[in-house]
Amino acid sequence: MTRLLNLLLNGVTLGAVYAAFALCLVLIFRATRIINFAQGAQAMFTTYLAYELVSHGQPYVLAFVVALAAGFLLGAFVERVVVRPVETGPEINAVIVTLGLFVAIEALAAILFGNQFQSFPAPFGVDGFRVGSVDLALTGNDRYRIVAVLVAAGLLLALFRFTNLGLRLRAAAFGQEVARLLGVRVGRMLTLGWALAGLFGSLAGLLIAGGSLFSPSYMQGVVVFGFTAAVLGGLDSFGGAVVGGLVLGFTQSLVAGYVASSLVTMAALAILILVLLLRPGGLFSSSVARRV
């Protein structure tokens, strides 16, 4: 029983991070119908920036702020400079460009920071706690991860749902031409969407690295799981991304705990195929078929 509970807790922690990463893929897909495969590499790069600060004795909070701000700027930069010039062509062009960018950023990071694994100090404690006679494996660092993702997702949701800026962002994503006719600066909104995604990705990168080893390629697995989570959720639904992330987190934890950790990827693939067979639009797709 304790084992199941601990596996579930571990699943929530993993799932929170996958959800955060899926959210940034969804942010970009909704706005530009592109999957940004460079998202993980961008997050890796900003995590290295944070690591440089921390390893030079700066406080974690400063490193956190710098990493998120850098992620925001990098996201905006990627949209303006790399993606926008190819945006008028077929969508596949832009996707290929993000793949190229992914390789380029990883190579750049390896040149600048070295290709070996580094240990990112945990910002919070790594001890579990006891409730009565039960040892829970939920460490301070795990709780930090969950709370950070919850707070960030809540802020994002509030921004989109309750502010005029959020309304502009959604209008630009779902009805570009109509939005322009109504005076919405669609280009700016798309840049802002990519920037927010960059910020969210940096958060996910930091949370994953904190208390463990990382290298220029440490986000690759997260990209795969985050993408799967986003597809499970329907690719354009925030709620779907969160649920998809949690489903994957639980799956990974339970399969690794009860079956074998080498089967984790297979299980994720099986879930993905099952969902796509039963509900091709994903679990929570919010897009509706447009009348013509």
């Binding site: 109509v178 939005a179 322009r180 919405v184 669609v186 919010s286």
Partner: protein, 233 residues
């Protein structure tokens, strides 16, 4: 209010508009009529900046807006209701309406309430997703949204498309009433020439990108030869 002079718009080698000129005065409805492919939609898209003309000019209240950005048109007093309704189906009805007045700093909730009073069928469904609306309700929503931008010129592209005659009459009636009350200038593009001429003041007939006739609406409606040749009734 709106002056269109010698407008030429081309898609590649094909001239969609060929030397088109017309005036859209305040307090009047100017209807642009013609068959499919006559250039009606291209005219509106060129006027609002979605398509760039090859030659000619567009002036709004004496100021040249030929090269203005699409996003700025609403600031200059122009609202464009595109063909195919232009409802953003993923947003709620209220959110669609709010988009209309978003660019104005002085927008009041009361103005949105007024739109609800004009179109009561939207009122009870404010928080519903706009994709649940019928075709007529969608048209009401986009007209209401365009009005919230407080335009001086309203461009309407085929508002009657796919709607029941009773709904068309209702929407046209509301537009006519608005023009008479507020002095709004309306440039209405319609394939449904008969209904359009019944509310318009002036009619312009387009054929293959050229203006073939411009006259008072009742005179056009009375011209049997023109009706048979270009208007199909």
């Amino acid at each position: 209010m709106l002056e269109i002079r010698n407008l030429v718009t081309a898609y590649g080698a094909v001239l969609a508009l060929d030397d088109v000129s017309m005036d859209v005065p305040a307090g009047r409805i100017t209807a642009v009529l013609g068959a499919n492919g006559a250039g009606k939609t291209t005219l509106l898209r060129t006027v609002s900046g979605l398509v760039r003309p090859r030659a000619g000019s567009v002036q709004l209240e004496g100021r040249d807006i030929t090269d203005a950005q699409v996003e700025d048109m609403v600031h200059r007093g122009m609202a464009h209701v595109p063909e195919g309704r232009g409802v953003i189906a993923e947003l709620t009805i209220e959110e669609n309406l709010r988009l209309g007045s978003l660019w104005r700093k002085d927008a009041q909730q009361e103005e949105i309430e007024e739109i609800y009073r004009t179109f009561p069928s939207l009122d009870s469904r404010r928080k519903q997703s706009a994709h649940t609306l019928s075709g007529g309700e969608r048209q009401m929503l986009v007209v209401g949204r365009a009005l919230l931008a407080r335009p001086k010129v309203l461009l309407l592209d085929e508002p009657s498309l796919g709607l029941a005659p009773r709904v068309v009459a209702q929407i046209f009636g509301i537009v006519r009433d608005l023009v008479d009350r507020t002095g709004l200038a309306v440039l209405l593009v319609e394939q449904n020439a008969k209904s359009a001429l019944s509310i318009a003041d002036t009619g312009v007939v387009l054929n293959l990108g050229k203006v073939v006739a411009t006259d008072e609406a009742h005179a056009l409606a009375a011209d049997e030869g023109l009706r048979h040749a270009f208007l199909g009734f």
